[in-house]
Protein backbone atom coordinates (compact mmCIF):
# COMPACT_ATOMS: atom_id res chain seq x y z
CA UNK A 1 0.00 0.00 0.00
CA UNK A 2 2.69 2.45 1.09
CA UNK A 3 4.83 1.38 -1.86
CA UNK A 4 1.98 2.16 -4.26
CA UNK A 5 1.72 5.62 -2.74
CA UNK A 6 5.40 6.34 -3.37
CA UNK A 7 5.24 4.81 -6.84
CA UNK A 8 2.34 7.09 -7.69
CA UNK A 9 4.20 10.10 -6.29
CA UNK A 10 7.32 9.19 -8.27
CA UNK A 11 5.46 8.97 -11.58
CA UNK A 12 3.44 12.08 -10.79
CA UNK A 13 6.71 13.99 -10.28
CA UNK A 14 8.01 12.73 -13.63
CA UNK A 15 4.80 13.88 -15.34
CA UNK A 16 5.02 17.25 -13.63
CA UNK A 17 8.62 17.67 -14.78
CA UNK A 18 7.68 16.69 -18.31
CA UNK A 19 5.02 19.41 -18.27
CA UNK A 20 7.62 21.96 -17.18
CA UNK A 21 9.58 21.23 -20.34
CA UNK A 22 10.78 24.84 -20.96
CA UNK A 23 12.51 24.77 -17.56
CA UNK A 24 14.30 21.54 -18.53
CA UNK A 25 15.34 23.14 -21.83
CA UNK A 26 16.76 26.03 -19.79
CA UNK A 27 18.75 23.51 -17.74
CA UNK A 28 20.00 21.86 -20.91
CA UNK A 29 21.09 25.22 -22.28
CA UNK A 30 22.90 25.96 -19.03
CA UNK A 31 24.58 22.53 -19.20
CA UNK A 32 25.85 23.30 -22.70
CA UNK A 33 27.21 26.68 -21.55
CA UNK A 34 29.04 24.99 -18.63
CA UNK A 35 30.53 22.30 -20.86
CA UNK A 36 31.44 24.87 -23.43
CA UNK A 37 33.24 27.05 -20.87
CA UNK A 38 35.14 24.10 -19.41
CA UNK A 39 36.02 22.73 -22.83
CA UNK A 40 37.59 26.11 -23.61
CA UNK A 41 39.43 26.27 -20.28
CA UNK A 42 41.18 22.99 -21.09
CA UNK A 43 41.97 24.13 -24.62
CA UNK A 44 44.04 27.01 -23.20
CA UNK A 45 46.01 25.04 -20.64
CA UNK A 46 49.38 23.41 -21.24
CA UNK A 47 48.70 19.79 -20.38
CA UNK A 48 51.96 18.30 -21.59
CA UNK A 49 53.05 17.32 -18.08
CA UNK A 50 49.93 15.46 -16.97
CA UNK A 51 48.82 12.06 -18.17
CA UNK A 52 45.16 12.92 -18.70
CA UNK A 53 43.89 13.65 -22.21
CA UNK A 54 41.75 16.72 -23.00
CA UNK A 55 38.94 14.49 -24.29
CA UNK A 56 38.90 12.57 -21.01
CA UNK A 57 38.76 15.83 -19.07
CA UNK A 58 35.73 16.98 -21.03
CA UNK A 59 33.96 13.68 -20.30
CA UNK A 60 34.94 14.07 -16.66
CA UNK A 61 33.30 17.50 -16.51
CA UNK A 62 30.29 16.26 -18.51
CA UNK A 63 29.70 13.42 -16.03
CA UNK A 64 29.99 15.89 -13.13
CA UNK A 65 27.71 18.54 -14.61
CA UNK A 66 25.19 15.90 -15.66
CA UNK A 67 24.65 14.85 -12.04
CA UNK A 68 25.00 18.34 -10.61
CA UNK A 69 22.27 19.79 -12.83
CA UNK A 70 19.98 16.79 -12.46
CA UNK A 71 19.63 17.37 -8.73
CA UNK A 72 16.36 19.24 -8.18
CA UNK A 73 16.30 22.33 -5.95
CA UNK A 74 14.31 20.56 -3.25
CA UNK A 75 15.67 22.94 -0.60
CA UNK A 76 13.85 25.86 -2.25
CA UNK A 77 10.56 23.92 -2.31
CA UNK A 78 10.91 23.09 1.38
CA UNK A 79 11.94 26.65 2.23
CA UNK A 80 8.86 27.98 0.43
CA UNK A 81 6.65 25.85 2.70
CA UNK A 82 8.16 27.65 5.67
CA UNK A 83 7.87 31.08 4.09
CA UNK A 84 4.25 30.59 3.04
CA UNK A 85 3.36 28.89 6.33
CA UNK A 86 2.03 25.80 4.54
CA UNK A 87 4.18 23.20 6.27
CA UNK A 88 1.48 22.38 8.84
CA UNK A 89 -1.01 21.40 6.13
CA UNK A 90 1.60 19.04 4.65
CA UNK A 91 2.13 17.42 8.03
CA UNK A 92 -1.55 16.47 8.15
CA UNK A 93 -1.18 14.22 5.10
CA UNK A 94 -1.13 10.47 5.85
CA UNK A 95 2.43 10.11 4.57
CA UNK A 96 5.89 10.87 5.98
CA UNK A 97 6.91 14.40 4.99
CA UNK A 98 10.57 13.50 4.38
CA UNK A 99 9.70 10.42 2.31
CA UNK A 100 7.10 12.28 0.28
CA UNK A 101 9.37 15.21 -0.55
CA UNK A 102 12.24 12.85 -1.32
CA UNK A 103 10.19 10.60 -3.62
CA UNK A 104 8.88 13.59 -5.56
CA UNK A 105 12.38 15.02 -5.83
CA UNK A 106 13.76 11.70 -7.08
CA UNK A 107 11.01 11.58 -9.71
CA UNK A 108 11.98 15.07 -10.86
CA UNK A 109 15.67 14.13 -10.75
CA UNK A 110 14.99 11.02 -12.85
CA UNK A 111 13.43 13.09 -15.63
CA UNK A 112 16.31 15.59 -15.61
CA UNK A 113 18.82 12.75 -15.40
CA UNK A 114 17.60 11.11 -18.61
CA UNK A 115 17.26 14.37 -20.51
CA UNK A 116 20.52 15.96 -19.37
CA UNK A 117 22.40 12.67 -19.67
CA UNK A 118 21.60 12.50 -23.36
CA UNK A 119 22.62 16.15 -23.70
CA UNK A 120 25.89 15.89 -21.73
CA UNK A 121 27.12 12.70 -23.37
CA UNK A 122 26.14 13.86 -26.87
CA UNK A 123 27.96 17.16 -26.34
CA UNK A 124 31.12 15.40 -25.11
CA UNK A 125 30.97 12.82 -27.91
CA UNK A 126 30.53 15.49 -30.59
CA UNK A 127 33.19 17.80 -29.13
CA UNK A 128 35.82 15.09 -28.68
CA UNK A 129 34.78 12.70 -31.46
CA UNK A 130 35.12 9.76 -29.08
CA UNK A 131 33.08 7.65 -26.66
CA UNK A 132 35.41 6.19 -24.03
CA UNK A 133 33.04 3.63 -22.46
CA UNK A 134 32.61 -0.10 -22.78
CA UNK A 135 29.14 -1.55 -22.18
CA UNK A 136 30.21 -2.53 -18.66
CA UNK A 137 31.74 0.82 -17.72
CA UNK A 138 28.76 2.67 -19.22
CA UNK A 139 26.30 0.62 -17.15
CA UNK A 140 28.42 1.41 -14.09
CA UNK A 141 28.40 5.11 -14.91
CA UNK A 142 24.61 5.08 -15.35
CA UNK A 143 24.02 3.37 -12.00
CA UNK A 144 26.49 5.40 -9.96
CA UNK A 145 25.45 8.66 -11.57
CA UNK A 146 21.82 8.14 -10.67
CA UNK A 147 22.77 7.09 -7.13
CA UNK A 148 24.94 10.23 -6.95
CA UNK A 149 21.93 12.31 -8.02
CA UNK A 150 19.90 10.79 -5.16
CA UNK A 151 22.71 11.54 -2.69
CA UNK A 152 22.90 15.13 -3.97
CA UNK A 153 19.12 15.44 -3.55
CA UNK A 154 19.45 14.31 0.06
CA UNK A 155 22.18 16.90 0.70
CA UNK A 156 20.02 19.68 -0.78
CA UNK A 157 17.14 18.41 1.34
CA UNK A 158 19.26 18.89 4.46
CA UNK A 159 19.71 22.52 3.46
CA UNK A 160 15.92 22.84 3.06
CA UNK A 161 15.30 21.36 6.54
CA UNK A 162 17.63 24.00 7.98
CA UNK A 163 14.71 26.41 7.34
CA UNK A 164 13.58 25.43 10.84
CA UNK A 165 16.51 27.39 12.23
CA UNK A 166 17.51 29.86 9.51
CA UNK A 167 15.52 32.70 7.99
CA UNK A 168 17.48 32.52 4.73
CA UNK A 169 18.98 29.28 3.43
CA UNK A 170 20.57 30.54 0.23
CA UNK A 171 23.98 31.26 1.83
CA UNK A 172 24.00 27.73 3.32
CA UNK A 173 23.20 26.36 -0.10
CA UNK A 174 26.05 28.37 -1.67
CA UNK A 175 28.39 27.04 0.99
CA UNK A 176 27.32 23.45 0.39
CA UNK A 177 27.74 23.90 -3.34
CA UNK A 178 31.22 25.32 -2.86
CA UNK A 179 32.20 22.35 -0.67
CA UNK A 180 30.81 20.06 -3.33
CA UNK A 181 32.82 21.78 -6.07
CA UNK A 182 36.00 21.87 -4.00
CA UNK A 183 35.97 18.44 -2.37
CA UNK A 184 34.18 16.81 -5.29
CA UNK A 185 36.65 18.07 -7.87
CA UNK A 186 34.26 19.83 -10.23
CA UNK A 187 36.84 21.72 -12.27
CA UNK A 188 40.01 19.81 -11.55
CA UNK A 189 40.04 16.00 -11.34
CA UNK A 190 40.79 14.75 -7.83
CA UNK A 191 43.81 12.85 -9.20
CA UNK A 192 45.46 16.25 -9.79
CA UNK A 193 44.83 17.44 -6.21
CA UNK A 194 47.71 17.25 -3.70
CA UNK A 195 48.42 13.66 -2.61
CA UNK A 196 47.31 14.12 1.01
CA UNK A 197 43.76 14.92 -0.11
CA UNK A 198 43.42 11.44 -1.65
CA UNK A 199 43.39 9.90 1.83
CA UNK A 200 40.40 11.65 3.36
CA UNK A 201 38.31 12.76 0.35
CA UNK A 202 36.79 9.26 -0.12
CA UNK A 203 35.27 9.61 3.33
CA UNK A 204 33.20 12.61 2.22
CA UNK A 205 29.86 12.44 0.37
CA UNK A 206 31.04 15.05 -2.16
CA UNK A 207 33.58 12.58 -3.53
CA UNK A 208 30.82 10.17 -4.58
CA UNK A 209 28.61 12.83 -6.14
CA UNK A 210 31.26 14.22 -8.49
CA UNK A 211 34.91 13.29 -8.93
CA UNK A 212 35.17 9.91 -7.22
CA UNK A 213 32.77 8.45 -9.75
CA UNK A 214 33.86 10.39 -12.84
CA UNK A 215 37.60 9.92 -12.38
CA UNK A 216 37.30 6.20 -13.06
CA UNK A 217 37.49 7.32 -16.69
CA UNK A 218 41.24 7.92 -16.28
CA UNK A 219 42.25 4.77 -14.42
CA UNK A 220 42.02 1.15 -15.39
CA UNK A 221 39.32 0.21 -12.90
CA UNK A 222 39.12 -3.18 -11.25
CA UNK A 223 35.75 -4.68 -10.28
CA UNK A 224 36.65 -3.89 -6.66
CA UNK A 225 36.99 -0.17 -7.46
CA UNK A 226 33.51 -0.18 -8.97
CA UNK A 227 32.14 -1.96 -5.92
CA UNK A 228 33.83 0.53 -3.58
CA UNK A 229 32.25 3.49 -5.38
CA UNK A 230 28.79 1.89 -5.46
CA UNK A 231 29.20 0.84 -1.80
CA UNK A 232 30.36 4.33 -0.77
CA UNK A 233 27.51 6.17 -2.46
CA UNK A 234 24.93 3.69 -1.11
CA UNK A 235 26.21 4.03 2.47
CA UNK A 236 26.05 7.82 2.21
CA UNK A 237 22.49 7.65 0.85
CA UNK A 238 21.37 5.59 3.85
CA UNK A 239 23.22 7.87 6.30
CA UNK A 240 21.88 11.09 4.80
CA UNK A 241 18.32 9.74 4.69
CA UNK A 242 18.51 8.84 8.38
CA UNK A 243 20.11 12.19 9.19
CA UNK A 244 17.38 14.13 7.36
CA UNK A 245 14.60 12.23 9.14
CA UNK A 246 16.32 12.90 12.47
CA UNK A 247 16.87 16.57 11.66
CA UNK A 248 13.26 17.05 10.59
CA UNK A 249 11.96 15.46 13.78
CA UNK A 250 14.25 17.71 15.82
CA UNK A 251 12.98 20.73 13.89
CA UNK A 252 9.35 19.78 14.59
CA UNK A 253 10.06 19.44 18.28
CA UNK A 254 11.59 22.92 18.14
Amino acid sequence: MARNKYKALFFYAIKKSARAFPATCGLLLFLFVCLFVFAHVWEYVDMSFISIKKSELLYYIALNEWVLLSIPFIHFDIHQLFKKNTLTSRLLLPISFVNKELTEAIGKAFFHFIFLGIGALSFAALWTGSFPFTLFSFSFILITSFLATILGTLLYMTVGIFSFWFEEILPIFFLLQQLLFLFGGLLLPLALYPKWTHIFFPFLPFYYILGGRSQLLFVDPQPLTYLLVIGGVSIWIVLMKKFNTFLFQRGLKG
Binding site: P22, A23, C25, G26, L27, L29, F30, V33, C34, F36, V37, F38, H40, V41, E43, Y44, V45, D46, M47, I50, F166, E167, E168, L170, P171, I172, F174, L175, Q177, Q178, L179, F181, L182, L186, L187, L188, L192, Y193, P194
Partner: protein, 251 residues
Amino acid sequence: MNAAYRTLIAHNFKKNLQARSSFFLDMAIMCINNLGFLLQWKIFFLRFQSIGEWGMEDVATSLVIMMASYGSMLIFFGGVRLIPQYIVHGDIDLFLLQPKNILLKMLFSQSYPRGFGNLLSATLFILLFRLYSYPHFLLIPFFILIGTLLLTSIRLTINSLIFWIPSIEEISEKYIDAFFMMSSYPSNIYSGFIRLLTFTLFPVAFITFLPVEILRTFSLDYCLYYILGTLFFLTLAFTSFYLGLRRYLKK
Protein backbone atom coordinates in the same frame (compact mmCIF):
# COMPACT_ATOMS: atom_id res chain seq x y z
CA MET B 1 20.97 62.23 -4.66
CA ASN B 2 17.40 62.93 -3.68
CA ALA B 3 16.68 62.62 0.07
CA ALA B 4 13.94 60.05 -0.59
CA TYR B 5 16.43 57.63 -2.19
CA ARG B 6 18.95 58.20 0.57
CA THR B 7 16.25 57.34 3.10
CA LEU B 8 15.35 54.23 1.13
CA ILE B 9 18.98 53.02 1.10
CA ALA B 10 19.38 53.84 4.81
CA HIS B 11 16.17 51.93 5.52
CA ASN B 12 17.52 48.88 3.68
CA PHE B 13 20.73 48.98 5.70
CA LYS B 14 18.77 49.23 8.94
CA LYS B 15 16.50 46.37 7.88
CA ASN B 16 19.55 44.20 7.19
CA LEU B 17 21.11 45.03 10.51
CA GLN B 18 17.92 44.34 12.47
CA ALA B 19 18.52 40.58 12.25
CA ARG B 20 22.15 41.09 13.29
CA SER B 21 23.12 37.42 13.74
CA SER B 22 21.58 36.46 10.40
CA PHE B 23 23.32 39.42 8.74
CA PHE B 24 26.77 38.43 9.99
CA LEU B 25 26.15 34.74 9.32
CA ASP B 26 25.12 35.47 5.71
CA MET B 27 28.19 37.62 5.29
CA ALA B 28 30.55 35.05 6.78
CA ILE B 29 29.11 32.18 4.74
CA MET B 30 29.42 34.19 1.54
CA CYS B 31 33.04 34.96 2.41
CA ILE B 32 33.87 31.30 3.06
CA ASN B 33 32.11 30.39 -0.16
CA ASN B 34 34.23 32.84 -2.16
CA LEU B 35 37.41 31.71 -0.45
CA GLY B 36 36.52 28.15 -1.45
CA PHE B 37 36.25 29.31 -5.04
CA LEU B 38 39.65 30.97 -4.77
CA LEU B 39 41.10 27.79 -3.29
CA GLN B 40 39.90 25.84 -6.33
CA TRP B 41 41.84 28.23 -8.56
CA LYS B 42 44.86 28.07 -6.28
CA ILE B 43 44.90 24.27 -6.63
CA PHE B 44 44.46 24.69 -10.38
CA PHE B 45 47.46 27.02 -10.63
CA LEU B 46 49.58 24.68 -8.54
CA ARG B 47 49.27 22.23 -11.44
CA PHE B 48 49.15 24.59 -14.41
CA GLN B 49 51.13 27.75 -15.05
CA SER B 50 48.51 29.75 -16.90
CA ILE B 51 45.26 29.80 -18.83
CA GLY B 52 46.00 31.43 -22.14
CA GLU B 53 48.10 34.37 -21.05
CA TRP B 54 46.41 34.83 -17.69
CA GLY B 55 48.13 33.81 -14.47
CA MET B 56 46.74 33.51 -10.96
CA GLU B 57 46.94 37.27 -10.35
CA ASP B 58 44.86 38.04 -13.45
CA VAL B 59 42.25 35.45 -12.47
CA ALA B 60 42.20 36.94 -8.94
CA THR B 61 41.71 40.44 -10.40
CA SER B 62 38.81 39.24 -12.51
CA LEU B 63 37.28 37.51 -9.46
CA VAL B 64 37.68 40.67 -7.36
CA ILE B 65 35.90 42.80 -9.95
CA MET B 66 33.16 40.23 -10.46
CA MET B 67 32.54 39.60 -6.75
CA ALA B 68 32.62 43.24 -5.69
CA SER B 69 30.37 44.29 -8.59
CA TYR B 70 27.89 41.54 -7.80
CA GLY B 71 28.05 42.39 -4.10
CA SER B 72 27.43 46.08 -4.73
CA MET B 73 24.54 45.22 -7.03
CA LEU B 74 22.96 43.11 -4.27
CA ILE B 75 23.45 45.88 -1.69
CA PHE B 76 22.39 48.94 -3.67
CA PHE B 77 20.24 47.65 -6.53
CA GLY B 78 18.98 44.37 -5.04
CA GLY B 79 15.45 45.19 -6.21
CA VAL B 80 16.46 44.44 -9.81
CA ARG B 81 16.17 40.73 -9.00
CA LEU B 82 12.55 41.19 -7.90
CA ILE B 83 11.31 43.08 -10.95
CA PRO B 84 9.79 39.96 -12.61
CA GLN B 85 7.84 39.27 -9.40
CA TYR B 86 6.71 42.89 -9.20
CA ILE B 87 5.41 42.69 -12.75
CA VAL B 88 3.83 39.22 -12.59
CA HIS B 89 2.16 39.74 -9.20
CA GLY B 90 1.04 43.29 -10.00
CA ASP B 91 3.15 44.86 -7.23
CA ILE B 92 4.44 47.29 -9.82
CA ASP B 93 1.14 49.19 -9.40
CA LEU B 94 2.20 50.16 -5.87
CA PHE B 95 5.35 51.74 -7.28
CA LEU B 96 3.33 53.53 -9.95
CA LEU B 97 1.27 55.24 -7.26
CA GLN B 98 4.38 56.73 -5.69
CA PRO B 99 6.13 59.89 -6.88
CA LYS B 100 8.85 59.49 -9.52
CA ASN B 101 11.34 57.83 -10.16
CA ILE B 102 9.73 54.41 -10.41
CA LEU B 103 12.83 52.58 -11.68
CA LEU B 104 15.12 53.84 -8.94
CA LYS B 105 12.52 53.01 -6.31
CA MET B 106 12.24 49.47 -7.65
CA LEU B 107 16.02 49.06 -7.75
CA PHE B 108 16.44 50.36 -4.20
CA SER B 109 13.51 48.34 -2.87
CA GLN B 110 15.66 45.45 -1.67
CA SER B 111 19.16 44.95 -0.32
CA TYR B 112 20.82 41.61 0.39
CA PRO B 113 23.29 41.21 3.28
CA ARG B 114 25.31 38.61 1.40
CA GLY B 115 26.41 41.44 -0.87
CA PHE B 116 28.57 42.63 2.04
CA GLY B 117 30.12 39.15 2.14
CA ASN B 118 31.09 39.53 -1.50
CA LEU B 119 32.59 42.97 -0.84
CA LEU B 120 34.50 41.66 2.15
CA SER B 121 35.91 38.69 0.23
CA ALA B 122 36.88 40.98 -2.67
CA THR B 123 38.80 43.13 -0.16
CA LEU B 124 40.49 40.03 1.25
CA PHE B 125 41.51 38.94 -2.26
CA ILE B 126 42.96 42.41 -2.93
CA LEU B 127 45.08 42.11 0.21
CA LEU B 128 46.06 38.49 -0.45
CA PHE B 129 47.21 39.16 -4.02
CA ARG B 130 48.51 42.65 -3.29
CA LEU B 131 46.31 44.22 -5.93
CA TYR B 132 46.76 47.64 -4.33
CA SER B 133 49.83 48.82 -6.23
CA TYR B 134 49.60 51.50 -8.96
CA PRO B 135 47.50 51.44 -11.21
CA HIS B 136 45.38 48.70 -9.60
CA PHE B 137 44.28 50.78 -6.62
CA LEU B 138 42.95 53.47 -8.95
CA LEU B 139 41.41 51.34 -11.65
CA ILE B 140 39.92 48.43 -9.70
CA PRO B 141 37.38 50.61 -7.77
CA PHE B 142 36.45 52.24 -11.08
CA PHE B 143 35.93 48.84 -12.75
CA ILE B 144 33.86 47.72 -9.77
CA LEU B 145 31.64 50.78 -10.08
CA ILE B 146 31.14 50.23 -13.80
CA GLY B 147 30.72 46.47 -13.22
CA THR B 148 27.93 47.16 -10.72
CA LEU B 149 26.11 49.38 -13.22
CA LEU B 150 26.63 46.85 -16.00
CA LEU B 151 25.42 43.87 -13.99
CA THR B 152 22.34 45.84 -12.92
CA SER B 153 21.71 46.96 -16.51
CA ILE B 154 22.03 43.46 -17.93
CA ARG B 155 19.73 42.03 -15.30
CA LEU B 156 17.27 44.89 -15.84
CA THR B 157 17.25 44.33 -19.61
CA ILE B 158 16.58 40.61 -19.23
CA ASN B 159 13.95 41.13 -16.54
CA SER B 160 12.21 43.80 -18.61
CA LEU B 161 11.50 41.20 -21.31
CA ILE B 162 8.80 39.91 -18.98
CA PHE B 163 6.66 42.92 -20.01
CA TRP B 164 6.40 41.29 -23.45
CA ILE B 165 6.82 37.57 -22.70
CA PRO B 166 5.44 36.68 -19.24
CA SER B 167 6.60 33.05 -19.49
CA ILE B 168 10.24 34.07 -19.93
CA GLU B 169 10.96 34.21 -16.16
CA GLU B 170 12.56 30.75 -15.91
CA ILE B 171 14.58 31.14 -19.08
CA SER B 172 15.80 34.55 -17.94
CA GLU B 173 16.90 32.97 -14.63
CA LYS B 174 18.91 30.41 -16.54
CA TYR B 175 20.38 33.14 -18.72
CA ILE B 176 21.55 34.94 -15.58
CA ASP B 177 22.99 31.67 -14.20
CA ALA B 178 24.83 31.09 -17.48
CA PHE B 179 26.03 34.69 -17.45
CA PHE B 180 27.50 34.33 -13.96
CA MET B 181 28.94 30.95 -14.83
CA MET B 182 30.75 32.44 -17.83
CA SER B 183 31.98 35.44 -15.86
CA SER B 184 33.34 33.30 -13.02
CA TYR B 185 35.92 31.75 -15.32
CA PRO B 186 38.70 33.54 -17.18
CA SER B 187 37.07 35.11 -20.21
CA ASN B 188 40.29 35.27 -22.23
CA ILE B 189 39.64 31.68 -23.33
CA TYR B 190 37.07 32.61 -25.97
CA SER B 191 37.91 33.47 -29.52
CA GLY B 192 36.14 34.15 -32.84
CA PHE B 193 32.38 33.97 -32.82
CA ILE B 194 32.23 33.10 -29.12
CA ARG B 195 34.27 36.16 -28.21
CA LEU B 196 31.77 38.21 -30.21
CA LEU B 197 28.99 36.67 -28.10
CA THR B 198 30.79 37.69 -24.91
CA PHE B 199 30.62 41.29 -26.15
CA THR B 200 26.96 41.11 -27.20
CA LEU B 201 24.52 38.39 -26.12
CA PHE B 202 26.47 37.40 -22.97
CA PRO B 203 28.41 40.61 -22.31
CA VAL B 204 30.75 39.07 -19.71
CA ALA B 205 33.72 40.61 -21.52
CA PHE B 206 32.81 44.03 -20.08
CA ILE B 207 32.78 42.75 -16.52
CA THR B 208 35.99 40.70 -16.46
CA PHE B 209 37.87 40.40 -19.75
CA LEU B 210 38.25 44.10 -20.67
CA PRO B 211 39.12 45.36 -17.16
CA VAL B 212 41.83 42.70 -16.74
CA GLU B 213 43.19 43.29 -20.24
CA ILE B 214 43.21 47.08 -19.68
CA LEU B 215 45.22 46.52 -16.50
CA ARG B 216 47.57 44.16 -18.33
CA THR B 217 48.12 46.03 -21.58
CA PHE B 218 46.70 49.58 -21.18
CA SER B 219 45.34 49.21 -24.70
CA LEU B 220 43.43 52.29 -25.88
CA ASP B 221 41.26 50.12 -28.11
CA TYR B 222 40.10 48.13 -25.11
CA CYS B 223 39.37 51.36 -23.19
CA LEU B 224 37.24 52.60 -26.06
CA TYR B 225 35.30 49.29 -26.30
CA TYR B 226 34.78 49.43 -22.55
CA ILE B 227 33.33 52.94 -22.53
CA LEU B 228 31.14 52.40 -25.60
CA GLY B 229 29.92 49.02 -24.34
CA THR B 230 29.03 50.41 -20.94
CA LEU B 231 27.07 53.28 -22.47
CA PHE B 232 25.29 50.90 -24.83
CA PHE B 233 24.17 48.46 -22.12
CA LEU B 234 23.04 51.27 -19.81
CA THR B 235 20.96 52.79 -22.61
CA LEU B 236 19.56 49.39 -23.55
CA ALA B 237 18.47 48.72 -19.96
CA PHE B 238 16.69 52.07 -19.55
CA THR B 239 15.06 51.84 -22.97
CA SER B 240 13.80 48.29 -22.53
CA PHE B 241 12.42 49.01 -19.06
CA TYR B 242 10.58 52.19 -20.02
CA LEU B 243 9.26 50.74 -23.28
CA GLY B 244 8.00 47.73 -21.31
CA LEU B 245 6.45 50.00 -18.69
CA ARG B 246 4.68 52.01 -21.38
CA ARG B 247 3.26 48.78 -22.78
CA TYR B 248 2.14 47.73 -19.29
CA LEU B 249 0.40 51.08 -18.74
CA LYS B 250 -1.39 50.85 -22.09
CA LYS B 251 -2.76 47.41 -21.20
